[in-house]
Assembly symmetry: C2
């Protein structure tokens, strides 16, 4: 199983890289800076140094799975990068691509979007662009019917940390035993690599992972 991770030096990407490596999968970091990747992932890491927006069908289809864990520098680039990767993978049936899209498009128990609550925050202007664009990214992906995509949302709180037991959901926030919507990068990585090794989530859908 060959896996390429775009943005493999970030919190989510590096956790996924490490879990895949521990399980003996053939994993490659696709990053802007190879030296930084080897610092974060180890001197023996498999690295392709390339701007994500320059990736071609040839680069991507070497892999069985591509994971897009890249937190783009500018919020609206979430859509632009998704569109670029989709364009390169059109009509390809063998390479699957998983987009980590944030939690803002998930529904609260009352059926409203988490994004609607975030917009009410008095300091929203400082950080709302990314949740807005990540919600749009899902809307964009739902337009795409000839690429083997999956989208995965973390929880309202997505925090660095080791893996816990996890639960999967579809479009609703998940809550742990203490009532919190939270998932660690370690939990996300385990759940995501589980889906790569033993897929249970239907292609072209979004799922979500939460700590139990």
């Amino acid at each position: 199983m060959k896996i390429g991770i775009i943005g493999a030096t970030g919190n989510a990407g590096s956790a996924i890289y490490k879990v895949a490596q521990q399980r003996g999968l053939d994993v490659t970091a696709i990053v802007r800076n190879a030296a930084k990747a080897r610092e974060v992932l180890g001197a023996d890491a498999n690295v392709i140094e390339k701007n994500a927006f320059a990736l071609t069908a040839g680069d991507l289809t070497k892999f069985d799975y591509v994971v897009n864990a890249f937190a783009t520098p500018t919020a609206y680039q979430h859509i632009d990068l998704a569109a670029k990767l989709v364009r390169e993978l059109r009509e390809n049936k063998t390479t699957k691509i998983i987009f980590i899209i944030g939690a803002s498009s998930l529904l609260k128990p009352d059926g409203t979007k988490l994004l609607d609550s975030l917009l009410q925050d008095e300091n929203a202007a400082n950080w709302i662009a990314t949740p807005i664009e990540q919600a749009k990214e899902l809307t964009f992906l739902k337009l795409i019917d000839n690429v083997e995509w999956l989208a995965v949302s973390p929880q309202a709180n997505f925090v660095p940390g080791p893996a816990a037991e996890y639960q999967l959901g579809v479009d609703h926030l998940l809550f742990n035993a203490a009532g919190h919507s939270i998932v660690s990068t370690g939990t996300m990585a385990e759940a995501l690599v589980d889906q790569i090794e033993n897929p249970t989530v239907p292609v072209r859908t979004r799922f979500t992972v939460g700590d139990k």
Copy 2:
């Protein structure tokens, strides 16, 4: 006023080119085949020969208006090209871009989408991909808030022919005096160049043009 027309050798694009030229505007055809463009538009036509997917911000921002009249070879490329052009024009406030997006997303008088009726046609499988993707293209454009885009829909019938008097609408099909939803390429071209010279339609909206 500098205008670039992507797909200027097609029915819609060539009509727009000719109207812009007749009005003394500085218009350039952006096409895959310069020789074909000079056959269609005249030996003295201004031509840039470039694949639409290779256009850069530098190419596009030479113009006050870019018109995307390119009927892509594959239906899903409507979204891919829109996303590519959007990406190149992000945060640009001086170059406006007009997408010709088809009529399928327009509403019938009963409030249902024209696309829903088209899907019922017994031969729909032969031609439905383009109306489906053009409707998605509008959904995509509505996600974009930092590009100066406009989308224009023709009518259920979009036919080659000279200009008639026209009417403008927003999201509903328009009907001529004989009760037909129809617009000629000539009418579309006049209305579109009118919007370039004297804009009345708000930026980041879709409008529609019909024969009176």
